[in-house]
């Protein structure tokens, strides 16, 4: 086993996390042995389809899993050296907003409709930074200007803003206390492409300015290529492949990652027919035996339905959880690794 070294450059570490939601009828296994590291100053893209457990992961980091149905069965989350699950609710309130904050998916419903946007940002500053009312209002205007909204609009209400502007307000809200980690849960899904482009540029700039780390939750590999440094691909509550951008985009190893890419229409080659992944996500209350992806996997072997595959490490950064690599490091997928074409100048 590899020694888990809590080196200085990991800001967030999730180790072997298991979360179940228990009801009278069934137990939904939302997170099943999740391991994840976000490095300081880096952006990690957490990619997966609906129901993969992306948002549950984010809520776990904030220690906001709904109890009593939600149960953290096993695992540890270390954020900036602190063990999240050992904190009391009072202590957590100090951590949320200050060390970590989150931007939600839907800008239309995440803001308070009867409070001006300036007041909403100022409230955060008053509580977390203990600023006076006047100082907080001033700071709130400054925050709005950072995200490209004229400070004078701080007296307006959310309904007076467009979708893109509301998302900017949410970003301002999330960044108000300069957190070390920003969790962005599908921050641009509700926006139009040209507005999405503006918001992504803004987030990239601010991340660099404030030297934060970011956990970008998305289903869009285009956005990942745009803003992330590292990628973790999630399926049925666990990471199936993780690595740097180049590892995942150019040297993918897991059949599910390959399937995700093959499902995307290629703008440069429209005659090529799409190769979707067959079937659907498994029911998290009734996960298949062995590898949870095996019923949909075209490379599945007898072993896959019996035993869960271990994480195979290809390099310091790149690993994948698949039996195909039991005895080899060679790519076993139909899709080829990216080879730079001739004539590319060095």
């Amino acid at each position: 086993m590899e020694e888990i070294t809590n080196t200085n450059n990991a800001l967030l570490e999730i180790e072997d996390l298991h979360i179940h939601f228990v009801s009278k009828v069934e137990t939904v296994k939302a997170i099943n042995g999740l391991n994840l590291v976000v490095h300081k100053g880096k952006t990690l893209g957490l990619v997966g389809e609906t129901g993969a457990g992306k948002t549950t992961t984010a809520l776990a980091i904030l220690n906001m899993i709904a109890k009593p149905q939600g149960r953290i069965v096993a695992g540890r989350i270390t954020l900036d050296g602190e063990d999240i699950f050992s904190k009391t609710e009072d202590q957590m309130e100090g951590i949320r907003g200050n060390t970590v904050s989150m931007i939600f998916q839907d800008p239309m419903t995440s803001l308070n409709p009867v409070m001006t946007v300036g007041d909403q940002i100022a409230e955060v500053l008053q509580i977390h930074k203990k600023l006076s009312k006047a100082a907080a209002a001033k700071e709130a205007q400054k925050m709005l200007e950072t995200v490209g909204i004229p400070g004078a609009r701080s007296v307006e209400y959310p309904h007076q803003f467009s979708g893109g502007m509301k998302q900017r307000v949410l970003i301002a809200l999330g960044l108000a206390c300069t957190p070390k980690l920003l969790i962005a849960d599908e921050p641009t899904t509700a926006l139009d492409v040209t507005i999405q482009a503006q918001v992504l540029e803004l987030m990239k700039d601010l991340k660099d300015q404030m030297n934060m780390s970011m956990l970008m939750i998305t289903h869009d590999l285009g956005i990942v290529a745009e803003v992330c440094d590292e990628v973790a691909v999630m399926y049925a509550g666990a990471i199936v492949e993780s690595g740097t951008l180049e590892d995942i985009f150019d040297r993918k190893r897991h059949p599910y990652t390959e399937g995700l890419f093959n499902s995307l229409p290629d703008v440069n080659n429209r005659t090529q027919s799409l190769k979707p992944i067959g079937g659907q996500m498994p029911n998290p209350a009734d996960l298949p035996q062995g590898c949870s992806f095996h019923p949909r996997c075209e490379y599945a072997m007898p072993k896959c339905s019996q035993e869960e595959p271990p994480m195979h490490r290809f390099s310091e950064t790149h690993c994948a959880k698949c039996w195909l690599y039991e005895n080899t490091d060679q790519c076993m997928l139909a899709s080829q690794d990216y080879v730079p074409s001739q004539g590319v100048s060095e």
Partner: protein, 321 residues
């Protein structure tokens, strides 16, 4: 008008009266679609793409303009005639969660439509046809008595498509049919729509905001901005040689899932302006980097700059000879 054209839309307008003025949702849009082809309509929220689709089916009454479908002007038909004609024109909705009746099973949903056609004499014949349709859209026979809430988004959308096909239409308006679905399911539905088109000779209008989807499915693409059609060309031409500044920005804003051959982004400033009582100037002028005096004096007409490539911009000149 050649025989091959199934739909011709001329100067279609749809205005909505609002308290603050007249909202120009669709403003003077004209285009044609050939039989068996797909026209993609792209644009951002509020550009009028959905209203265009609905006006063509007369689900909203157009303010003015004509829609000639298969030789008949839809806008002139009486309610009864329209009802009959609509059998040939169907709609697939964006949201497979709210567009199905939650109290009807798969079988009942499709059967209801079959009853309306009056083509089937008894329930046996209808039942047989229900199974046929379910197979066509890839729904397992075991789901025949399933209710919508028992199915996931992909299957629900398959049912929505099956319901549209039950009328044996010639023409379907697909309004963002895959936007609510995950990529792997989205790919399944797109492939299915493509193969249904080949088998049944369907003509589609495909409304979407997703450029990579529209690129995959369409033969021609129309780009809309604030109720106006600003550029229309074949898919290859539009992606290779976009001419309108807005189209260029839109194409460059598309996040490409690859690390190579990346292009520099053109960021456009600001946001879409209000569609209420727009001034008679170029509607993109306020956000355009190439805006000149001419753009603020009048609205640019839609001009055919090269064969089958239409652009509405003062800065683009037709090719010579």
């Amino acid at each position: 008008m050649s025989d091959n054209v199934i739909l011709e839309v001329n100067n279609l307008k749809k205005y909505f009266k609002t308290r603050s003025g007249m909202l120009h949702a669709v403003d003077d849009v004209s285009f044609t679609i050939e039989r068996g082809k797909t026209l993609g309509i792209v644009g951002e929220s509020g550009c009028g793409k959905t209203t265009t689709g609905r006006s063509i089916l007369r689900l909203v009454e157009p303010t003015s303009g004509t829609v000639i479908f298969d030789g008949t002007d839809i806008t002139k038909l009486s309610k009864r005639e329209l009802r009959k004609k609509r059998q040939e024109m169907q709609l697939i909705f964006q949201d497979p969660f709210s567009s199905l009746n939650p109290k009807r099973t798969v079988c009942q949903t499709i059967e209801e439509v079959l009853k309306l056609t009056g083509e089937y004499k008894n329930s046996d014949e209808r039942f047989h046809r229900v199974l046929e349709i379910m197979e066509m859209v890839g729904l397992d026979e075991r789901l025949i008595n399933a209710y919508p809430h028992e199915m996931d988004g992909g299957r629900r959308q398959r049912l929505g498509i099956g319901r549209a096909l039950a009328m044996k239409p010639k023409f379907i308006v697909c309004d963002e049919p895959v936007s609510a679905l995950d990529v792997s399911i989205q790919a399944q539905i797109l492939n299915m729509l493509r193969s249904l088109q080949n088998e049944l000779g369907l003509t589609y209008i495909f409304i979407t905001h997703d450029l990579s989807v529209v690129n995959y499915i369409s033969d021609d693409i129309a780009v809309m901005y604030l109720g106006r059609l600003i550029e229309k060309a074949s898919t290859e031409e539009l992606f290779r040689n976009p001419l309108h500044p807005y189209t260029k920005a839109l194409l460059s804003a598309l996040p490409v899932p690859s690390l190579h051959n990346r292009q520099k982004r053109i960021l456009i400033k600001g946001e879409i302006s209000s569609p209420i009582d727009p001034k008679p100037v170029c509607r993109f002028a306020a956000r355009c980097d190439h805006c000149t005096e001419a753009c603020l004096k009048g609205e640019p007409p839609l001009v055919e700059v090269s064969p089958n490539h239409f652009v509405s911009c003062f800065m683009v000149q037709p090719e010579q000879g």
